[in-house]
Symmetry: C2
Subunit: 383 residues, 2 copies
């Protein structure tokens, strides 16, 4: 159930002292297997953090041996000094593990616009490198937490090989994404191109559809490492399915632990003209603050769903649209449907259904409600 479940990976968490709380804040994942395929997906933000720029360069050849991750500082919008610092983190990790710097990816999370204190990170890396162990996955998952309240880990096993994963991310969580950091490991033998293809497939229907607060981070990174230690070359379709399982599991965990949330909301759009339009429609609802506040108030306010849908250019006729909350069709044909009093939103899990009657495509976007605690956490985050 961690990045060290697959054979031939070690990991560790350490305390470098970047977090005022004194909690663990530095993690290393090391691939010790026979192969070193790697693939990565990064934020689409035009202000990519320094570690994103460095990791993109290091992963470009499809090979990585290790990932070093820190919480307690995003090293984003930090200029040339930030780039030097991210490169220094890769070099220090490489030195500790006997690897070239460009075999190491770097991930950082925390406040934007502050330099990382390398005097703390250097000893932290050395300490984590010494602690690397075949059962170190859970410690690594804990060291990358920021406002996360629980570590996120997942696993999928198949005949003789497995995939492990860890993730962090609780705010600024949207496609592209959200100081969302994910490391995926597998002992299957998968060449870089196939790994990249499977990762794209998996991200498209999982992390790209987890939209907690519509805010795109400067640091989002998803890295997959494959070492072939199992000696098994899986069927590409089977591998992509297993990878998607792990990513979907981690995405659900991210949404379930999003900052201040009191409801997990799955918005499923059916009968859209295309899958892209289904995603666009669902995402418009997921980003409506009024809708999100209504769910916080246990209010099946379908008018706010329609008003969000009405801002899109997705194909539908307004008089054909149905909306349901937890299976009760409170809006039928763009107007009043069943009694909203029949809807019970007191549980954490809320299912919103939208039928566009404009085609046959479906997509689900995951989001959260907008709560006092979300505001509190994000008003106080840097102070």
């Amino acid at each position: 159930m961690s990045v060290t479940d697959p054979v031939g990976f070690t990991a560790a968490g350490a305390t470098a002292g970047l977090k005022p709380s004194g909690r663990p804040d530095l993690a290393v994942v090391h691939n010790t297997g026979p192969e070193d395929s790697a693939a990565a997906v990064f934020t689409g933000n035009r202000f990519p953090a320094a570690p994103v720029t460095v990791s993109r360069a290091h992963a470009a050849d499809g090979h990585l041996r290790a990932v070093v991750l820190n919480s307690g500082g995003a090293n984003a919008c930090t200029g040339e000094q930030g780039l030097d610092d991210a490169r220094a983190m890769a070099a220090a990790t490489g030195a500790a593990l006997g690897l070239p710097a460009d075999a190491v990816a770097v991930c950082s999370t925390g406040l934007i616009g502050q330099l990382i204190d390398l005097r703390l990170v250097g000893p932290g890396i050395a300490s984590a490198a010494r602690a690397l162990a075949a059962d170190g996955g859970p410690a690594a998952a804990e060291a990358i937490m920021t406002t996360d309240t629980v570590p996120k880990q997942a696993r999928a096993g198949r005949d003789g090989w497995s995939i492990g994963g860890m993730a962090k991310g609780a705010g600024m969580l949207a496609p592209g994404l959200a100081t969302m950091l994910v490391v995926l490991t597998t002992d299957a033998s998968v060449p870089p191109d196939a790994l990249a293809a499977a990762l794209q497939t998996a991200c498209r229907v999982t992390f790209d559809r987890a939209d907690s607060d519509g805010c795109m981070s400067t640091n989002d990174t998803v890295i997959a490492l494959a070492n072939g230690a199992s000696g098994i070359v899986p069927d590409p379709g089977v591998f992509a399915t297993a990878l998607t399982e792990v990513c979907a599991d981690l995405a659900r965990q991210l949404i379930a632990d999003a900052e201040g949330a009191s409801h997990e909301i799955a918005i499923t759009v059916v009968n859209a003209a295309s899958e892209d339009e289904a995603v666009t429609a669902a995402r418009a609802v997921a980003r409506s603050n009024l809708f999100k506040c209504a769910v916080f108030g246990n209010d099946p306010n379908w008018g706010r769903v329609l008003s969000a849908l009405g801002t899109t250019d997705v194909a539908f006729s307004p008089e054909d649209v149905d909306v349901s909350f937890n299976k009760i069709t409170v809006c039928r044909g763009g107007a009043i449907g069943e009694d909203r009093a029949l809807v019970d939103l007191s549980g954490r899990s809320v299912e919103v259904g939208v039928d566009l009657r404009a085609g046959s495509s479906t997509a689900t976007v995951l989001t959260n409600d907008l709560t006092y605690d979300y505001v509190k956490e994000n008003a106080e985050y840097s102070t």
Copy 2:
């Protein structure tokens, strides 16, 4: 300072009983002057409320004599019955004033997805019609309030003629807009086409750039009535400037009274490649929940400004962008600038400056912070 300031307009507020609070909830504005030019701008939402559909039809010929407005129910997403009800409101108002139904525009605001109780509205209209008075503007402005805490009125005077205005709107406030209802009156003589052109000009740089919560309403309506009672035909440019003044004043009042807000925020983007790009960049910041929470926490979190800008395709080089909070340039060249501790955000008014260094165009978007009270009001609104 009201819609009855210009000569030849009467108005009234009445209590129809639509609001559980028993506060006034019905207003009528009547043009009794020699001319009846009218222009209107409506929500771009694809689920326009019934009164929007009816008013659009009635205003299509450039002539209106009266506007009837109710709070306590939006009559949106109410199907054929809703359309019948909106038409009945126009007819009842016309009957009370001796006008054909299509000389009357209808505006409604309140909860989406509930039918209006015509048994209450009918007597309310009769009562308002009896109360119409040349000093009735303030009573009308009060009767259209929903979660507004104060009525919004404005005025601009020129040589021998004037413009008066009233507005309501406190949530779902964004371009397109936000159960934002506005009535503008003038005793200048302005033909329908010129009135429509001036209204478009004025809305483009005022209401269209007031973006409290990114949510587009189903009911937004801005109606301008010109009756020529002053006998003066103003220069079109002078008229448009005066109308823009009144709209800008009302837009500021809307933002200052937005639901739960503790800060009014003006985001000004300078040196953009075009005015549209300046608006796009400013709006991206205005819609970032994380940015808005930071301002609530008095935190000049420029990283959240950059991360919002980084999601747009507006022309700029990341290493050229400066960001200031209340004139302190906390971000310079996309990286750390002056000490954020120098910024004081304890006042209600916050000025965020963004220099893109990509051209010479400027635009300002007004917004609010995201607060506990916004969540509270919108979680409890319909319950």
